[in-house]
């Protein structure tokens, strides 16, 4: 956690270039080995959240085709990738979504689905909880706060009520329940231009409030810092918060978070099959370093091990305070 205090911060000329910042701490950012293939199957979503770094919405047409999904599965099988992490948009709306899940699970790959909860109320998606259960999918769902006002402010009117109903349905079939192996994790994003609170502290709040108000259970809460990309960047600019937010991220740089950064053991695939170091780089069109294969059809994890990571100023979002990743904070406060 940043030791910078409210009101009083000793100001030095800040290093705002991420590579220079790492160098100043004697760090060269390189990957370890590929343990997770994170596949963004497209930008189509039933929601249009105000902070979305993908700029996903019901109007988007970028959707992964079956041929590309088959290439993903071929890579997962050939190289025995331990984890397939499926995201979007709302990945369930992709026609190849269930193919990806069932094929990956058929050979024991652990599958994570970044599920927005409300999509299970879309036509044809009513059986999603049962599909998740049958395939023992790990479900990771965004719920920015345990109160309606904050959640709807970020994710749209009525989303909180639907999300609560969706969580009840997941609980009913065993997800997130004590003694069950079905994992349901929630994601907290700050509803505005500020950093997340300590993960364990806000997780306790979520467990207490969702438990007492709605009798809802879940496994863990992941806190994720909002990245200054796409729709959240638009918000920062419109609200006059961009400079202040970036300054906050840079000031809160914590070199101890670098070891656990998700780009070190993950490769990100976009809806066309192109490869990136993370989903944020994907949205900025920052492909993996040019010496490496650029498409999933040519992917070989051995070539991607120990690769240099492509970075930008947005990377300060993952290294601020206790750090941030798709699996939440990287350190305890």
């Amino acid at each position: 956690m940043s030791k910078s205090l409210p009101v009083i911060e000793v100001r030095q000329p800040a290093i705002t270039n991420f590579v220079e910042k790492l160098a100043a701490h004697g760090i060269r950012l390189r990957a370890t080995r590929v343990e997770i293939l994170q596949v963004n199957v497209g930008k189509l979503c039933n929601q249009a959240c105000k902070h979305c770094h993908v700029d996903a919405s019901p109007g988007r047409t970028e959707v992964m085709e079956r041929k590309t999904a088959e290439q993903v599965i071929a890579a997962v099988h050939k190289y025995q990738i331990p984890v397939l992490d499926i995201t979007g948009g709302a990945p369930e709306l992709n026609p190849s979504f269930r193919y990806l899940v069932t094929e990956a699970r058929s050979r024991g790959t652990h599958v994570i689905v970044r599920h927005n909860l409300t999509v299970m109320f879309e036509p044809g998606q009513e059986d999603l909880p049962e599909f998740f259960r049958q395939n023992e999918v790990e479900v990771v769902s965004s719920l920015p706060y345990f109160l309606e006002q904050q959640t709807d402010a970020q994710r749209g009117r009525g989303v909180f009520e639907k999300s609560i109903e969706a969580l009840r349905r997941l609980n009913q079939i065993g997800y997130g329940m004590a003694g069950s192996s079905l994992i349901l994790n929630l994601v907290y994003n700050p509803v505005g231009a500020f950093l997340p609170p300590p993960q364990s502290s806000i997780e306790n709040d979520f467990k207490r409030e969702l438990g007492t108000r709605y009798s809802i259970s879940f496994n863990h809460l992941f806190t994720i810092t909002n990245m200054p990309i796409k729709r959240f960047l638009d918000y920062l600019q419109r609200s006059g918060n961009e400079q202040r937010y970036m300054h906050k991220l840079v000031e809160a740089f914590n070199p101890e978070t670098v070891e656990g950064l998700m780009c070190r053991n993950l490769v990100s695939v976009d809806w066309t099959g192109r490869l990136y170091d993370c989903d944020f780089n994907q949205m900025l069109d920052l492909t993996v370093t040019e010496e490496l294969p650029q498409m999933i059809a040519d992917f070989d994890p051995l070539q991607f091990a120990n690769r240099p990571i492509v970075t930008g100023s947005h990377c300060f979002g993952c290294t601020a305070g206790t750090g941030s990743s798709c699996g939440g904070a990287l350190m305890t406060a």
Partner: protein, 109 residues
């Protein structure tokens, strides 16, 4: 130019320019006060927010509003802290009415 500029919040360390020894002592004390202790950082941020309102310091209100959010408080909790500050200010004003009673009683028949 306004008397209160948002960017001035970032210039506070300039107060160490002339007597850095005093400023450093203040900083060490100020930092120590805000660490987790018998009270959590979250509780201390809410106290800071309440005091900031009682003092009506715009820098402190800005900084401690953020500190409250970043330590996990929500607007309901922050509003209660602000009401506590307001209630104490109101009560402190009202209790001084007894002073007025005493003054009036002293000079009245």
């Amino acid at each position: 130019m306004s008397y209160y500029e948002e960017d001035d919040l970032n210039r506070f360390s300039e107060m160490g320019k002339h007597r850095p020894d005093l400023f450093e002592k203040f900083m060490a004390w100020y930092q120590a006060c805000q660490e987790d202790g018998a009270l959590s950082r979250r509780e201390k941020a809410l106290i800071g927010l309440a005091v900031a309102h009682a003092l009506q310091c715009p820098y402190c209100i800005d900084a401690f509003s953020q500190a409250c959010l970043e330590s996990g408080s929500n607007m309901e909790q922050m509003a209660e802290a602000i009401h506590m500050a307001s209630a104490l200010r109101g009560g402190a004003t009202l209790i001084h009415g007894i002073q007025a009673h005493n003054a009036v009683n002293k000079i009245s028949m």
